[in-house]
Amino acid sequence: MPGKTCPHCGTEVPADNRFCGSCGGKVDAGPAAPAGGPPVAKTMFFGANQVPGRAKLTVIKGEGTDGVTYQLNGTDHVAGRTEGAILFPDDPLLSPRHANFIYKNAKLHVVDEGSVNGVFMRIKAPTLLISGALFLIGEQLLEVEPSPPDLGPQPDAEGTFFYASPKRPSKMKLIQRLRGGEIGMIYRSRAEMISIGREGNDVNFLDDPFISGRHAQITMNADGQVTLTDLGSKNGTFVRITDEAPLNHGDYVFLGQQLLRVEVT
């Protein structure tokens, strides 16, 4: 039976098939497939590579050294531990399918594909933290929780009051999340501001080599909204995105342990 070649993957498929049995790509159903099938596929692939204005991701390996670069020339570019084109099989902090880089109206976006650990973006300006938003400072994974209003003592159904430690009003709590999900420390702030760094701040992480002396600060306004500001730190401050976020040239994205730089050409 005379076959033809799938233009997408090059597999030989029966002449009357409309779809490639190997990759599912559409195959020209013309009765007489020309022998020039493979060259067509090659041409198309080559052409795709030349689309201007597309972006690439560069893996940052360490100080000043770049790793692999991924060209983002298609429409979907899935990143994960076991699934997709951008693979980091050795990173246990990545979900099997972790994130997707897509174009929306010709603009690159990163989409969290329901990953366990999420996608973090380096902030470039003071950023409003929505409730429960996680952020990364050096190796510290942190979270701010505004203190609930004090309702005063409330008896239980039997009329018994709960004994608790003395009330010391606080505005918010800074919570440290350890690897594995356990809470490490909770810092309870009475002020509307918490400064974070390696030394001389409200909260200091002396042993974290990736934290600057004065790294970031958290402020709460009169409405209880919490803003995170990077104080010109060396390694930056990263906030977990919700669902998806647009990406610009020079943005940094953390997926698991992978730091990626976005370059839009």
Binding site: R81, D156, T160, Y163, S165, L178, G180, G181
Partner: protein, 397 residues
């Protein structure tokens, strides 16, 4: 918080004297002598806290003077009259209205003892305690103003003696007991008793522990009537010839035992240090999820446990990681400090990791370290037990 005008230190609202300089703290303007017949929640809380400061003081050591200052002192015949926060003593038994249990208010009255035995054991009192023509409180022995229905010192409700308030001491006691058990049968001498330790370290009333079970709860005896931090069924003491066992009846606030020296801690254990209610938890090694993903976070620098300050029901305040061989808790010295809690000693307790076992040790603190009982426990004679807002010494033979 009340800020001291002399030295600027912030003090708990119920403090009368500054912890920093000892100066008298300014009180809010008096709200008038007429209390609302239905006390609001917070004010009742104030009452409970003021009458019975939550942290027991065992009459020894550095906090004795502080405790003495904090202890309510009768003045001018009307106890606590110098404190504008305190409504007249009658209001001590006004608990906040409880919409969920309409009839609970009645339950706050002195109930009949379920065992039919007098709820109060006669306490040996120096005869001088009763002034001529007056009566003495059957619970604490303090003299009672004629016409008063409650003891001004400890707040015990007094039985109405038919002969009036001038009934002699012995009659008063008898009437009180008879009111609880109209036909008191001769009962065996109790095997033991709970002795209330008042905030100034003196002994208050006692509660008998007979053979078998004794239920302790709000409404189960005069000592427990006014304590809004006791559950109606709080604890059960079982006395037998081979010892005394105390069991927490899943009470809201638990039963706390003053620890001797070392006590093994389990994850989830709760203990009291001064006024601080703390929970210990083990920090376990990270486990990957089913799909092989590990939850990201700060690399654990060697934390093996965490100590959380409980600030409300299901609400935690600060949390301190535990690492290294030992962490010392104190007011002034140590790794975890509670500088604002005057009931915490300078160096109070230690949590250490010894061969995989976590040990809580009291470091000779003035007020002790109290561990919440997990289930039940057989306790030695002379143990100190914290239930609700009150401290008791357990005596039995």
């Amino acid at each position: 918080m009340t800020t001291c005008k002399s030295c600027g230190k912030e003090n708990q609202d119920h403090y009368k004297f500054c912890l920093g300089c000892g100066g008298e703290l300014a009180r809010p303007a008096s709200v008038g002598a007429t209390p609302s017949p239905v006390a609001t929640g917070p004010s009742a809380m104030e009452i409970a806290r003021t009458v019975l400061p939550p942290a027991p003081v065992t009459a020894t050591g550095e906090l004795q003077a502080e405790a003495n200052r904090l202890a309510p002192k009768p003045k001018g015949g009307i106890p606590w009259g110098d404190s504008p926060k305190m409504p007249p003593v009658m209001a001590n038994f006004q608990l906040p209205p409880n919409p969920l249990a309409g009839g609970t208010g009645a339950g706050m009255r002195i109930p009949t003892s379920p065992t039919g035995t007098p709820a109060l054991e006669p306490v040996a009192q120096p005869p001088a305690a009763a002034p001529l023509g007056g009566t003495a409180c059957p619970t604490c022995g303090k003299p009672i103003q004629p016409g008063f229905a409650f003891c001004g010192s400890c707040g015990t409700r007094l039985a109405k003696a038919p002969s009036g308030a001038a009934a002699p001491l012995g009659v008063q006691k008898t009437m009180y007991g008879a009111g609880l058990a109209p036909a008191p049968a001769p009962v065996a001498a109790p095997r033991g008793r709970l002795v209330l330790i008042r905030p100034d370290g003196t002994e208050g009333g006692t509660h008998p522990l007979h053979d078998g079970e004794t239920l302790i709860g709000r409404g189960q005896g005069a000592l427990f009537e006014a304590d809004a931090y006791l559950s109606p069924r709080h604890a059960e003491f079982t006395a037998a010839s081979n010892g005394l066992t105390v069991r927490d009846l899943r009470s809201l606030n638990g039963v706390f035992l003053k620890i001797g020296t070392d006590e093994a801690l389990e994850s989830g254990d709760i203990f009291r240090l001064g006024q601080e209610l703390l929970r210990f938890e083990v920090i376990s090694a990270p486990q990957p999820l089913e799909d092989g993903t590990e939850i990201m976070g700060t690399p654990n620098p060697g934390f093996w446990g965490r100590l959380s300050v409980i600030v409300g029901r299901d609400v935690d305040g600060s949390a301190f990681p535990l690492f290294g061989d030992a962490i010392v808790l104190g007011r002034e010295r140590g790794d975890i400090l509670f500088p604002e809690d005057g009931y915490v000693s300078g160096t109070h307790a230690r949590i250490s990791l010894v061969e995989g076992q976590v040990i809580l040790s009291d470091l000779g603190s003035s007020n002790g370290t109290f561990l919440r009982l997990r289930h039940e426990r057989t306790i030695p004679n002379g143990s100190f037990i914290l239930m609700g807002q009150q401290l008791f010494r357990v005596e039995f033979r």
